[in-house]
């Protein structure tokens, strides 16, 4: 088990899983290859991030990503982030696997199949990831904004600092800058909507109260 907040990790995995399955559904030629390794379970430990992720090939069109899994893996690989980045983009994964610092237990067949399928596809990782991550951090932060920050540039800077700290410390994630910018805007607009809704509610309540006393 990792020390990462399971909700944040689940968000990242849910986003990645969605991106992956979407890409697979658009690449029919990969279905047969994935089908051939269906039922297999891969474990990937990224030592740099202190993170273990499990990948289950459920069917030819369905891959499942998990933060926790108790089934025995068919293959388990351990390495640094750099090792895996090199593997992900490699034209010759079998060679990269042997020459890199990655440790492998079990059979490499499913890992290599998955690598080949992924390497060929154009996967839009960011969109679903930011969507879902936005939900989590947004949920934790947006509600407090009204109280803890005043609107304007100051608020934005302070929010930025908090979110960056949160992502770095708790998620140990560093999403690219434009995504973060987009995310701050989204949080700000959610917070403003909540504020507006609350104002409306207060007005309605005041009206109801006024009606109550005039009767």
């Amino acid at each position: 088990m990792t020390q990462h907040d399971p909700a944040l990790l689940s968000a990242a995995l849910a986003g990645a899983e969605q991106a992956l399955n979407q890409a697979i559904s658009l690449a029919p030629h990969s279905h047969q290859e994935l089908d051939a390794v269906s039922g297999t379970l891969l474990g990937i430990e990224v030592t740099t991030l202190d993170l273990t992720v499990y990948i289950e090939m459920v069917t030819g069109t369905d891959v499942r990503l998990m933060a926790h899994c108790e089934r025995e893996t068919d293959a388990f690989v351990r390495g640094t982030l750099e090792d895996f980045a090199a593997l992900a983009t490699s034209n010759d994964p079998a060679a990269t696997l042997i020459n890199s610092g990655i440790e492998l237990e079990g059979s490499s067949a499913s890992l290599i199949t998955l690598q080949q399928v992924i390497a060929r596809m154009e996967i839009d990782w960011e969109a679903p990831l930011v969507d879902i991550l936005g939900d989590v951090a947004g949920h934790q932060i947006a509600e407090g904004l009204r109280r803890f920050f005043r609107w304007g540039e100051g608020a934005r800077a302070s929010l930025k600092r908090q979110v960056s700290e949160y992502l770095l410390e708790e998620g140990r994630l560093t999403p690219p800058k434009p995504e973060l910018e987009h995310f701050y805007d989204a949080v700000q607009s959610v917070a403003m909507r909540v504020e507006r809704a609350q104002n409306q509610v207060e007005k309605l309540l005041a009206k109801a109260a006024a009606r109550g006393t005039s009767q």
Binding site: A14, V136, R147
Partner: protein, 258 residues
């Protein structure tokens, strides 16, 4: 807050907490039913809005921790509208079985419809049942989940013992429930959210601020991480541990029947 919860649980009289109000033990069940009768039809929408969709992630991790496998029998208590049951149904497959249990007929009704919509019916049984007196055989279930349900149960110790009885030896219990934020800042933000915004949203969307105020209050009355862990151990569960999620706003407790 925790001391209060513990002392209230120990208090030897016929009253119990209903949110921040103390009510007759007998009356609580009826009042909790009233709350869920009134929110049933909008429950799923509110769940998404209230948690900003995060409840799906909490549930996703719960499913992973269940380690559910094909052929197993899973009991989801206080299962409400069948969120977890639908996901378990796929994991246990046609040889397995999922029991969706809840005390509230209105919630189960919504749950049944939703499961039919999702095409998940073959291996799911829907049973109206009280967590404190589960109508199932001893040692008959591989895994029990109770998500956001335990805090509504009047006698939690009784419910935990009932769950232990129904589990087979080696079987596991997972309790997903609101808990105590680990940082003071998050705690403040969260208080603000649940006592100001949540009832306001309840009024706006479900025209029912009182039910949502009850939800917020019942969350604060629920035992914190360590207290619940102790209660599970006292009930006889082994290897008990918990995972904090979203900074402790929610915790997932796990225990095994020895």
């Amino acid at each position: 807050m925790n001391d209060e919860a513990t002392s209230n649980a120990d208090r030897d009289d016929d009253t119990t907490d209903f949110g921040y109000t103390r009510v007759d033990r007998e009356a609580k069940a009826g009042m909790v039913r009233g709350v869920f009768d009134s929110v049933a039809s909008r429950y799923d929408l509110m769940n998404d809005l209230m948690s900003g969709g995060v409840h799906r992630l909490w549930k996703r991790f719960t499913i992973e921790l269940s380690a559910a496998r094909p052929g197993q029998t899973i009991l989801d208590i206080a299962g409400g509208t069948g969120d977890l049951a639908a996901r378990f149904s796929r994991l246990v497959g046609p040889e397995g079985k999922v029991i969706l249990a809840d005390i509230n007929a209105a919630m189960l009704e919504v749950g049944r419809d939703r499961l039919i919509d999702k095409g998940a019916t073959g291996n799911i049984e829907v049973v109206q049942a009280d967590a404190q007196a589960l109508p199932f055989k001893d040692n008959s279930v591989d895994c029990i989940t109770i998500a956001f349900g335990l805090r509504n149960v009047t006698d939690k110790a009784l419910a935990l013992r009932s769950m232990l009885r129904v589990l087979r030896p080696g079987g596991r219990l997972l309790v997903l429930e609101f808990s105590k934020p680990t940082s003071a800042l998050l705690g403040k933000v969260y208080d603000q959210y649940s006592f100001q915004i949540l009832p306001a949203m309840g009024r706006l969307i479900a025209q029912d601020a009182d039910s949502y105020r009850y939800l917020a209050e019942s969350i604060r009355k629920h035992p914190d991480q360590e207290t619940l862990l102790g209660m599970m151990e006292d009930a006889g569960f082994g290897e008990c541990r918990y995972h904090n999620m979203t900074g402790g706003v929610v915790a997932l407790h796990q225990g095994f029947k020895p």
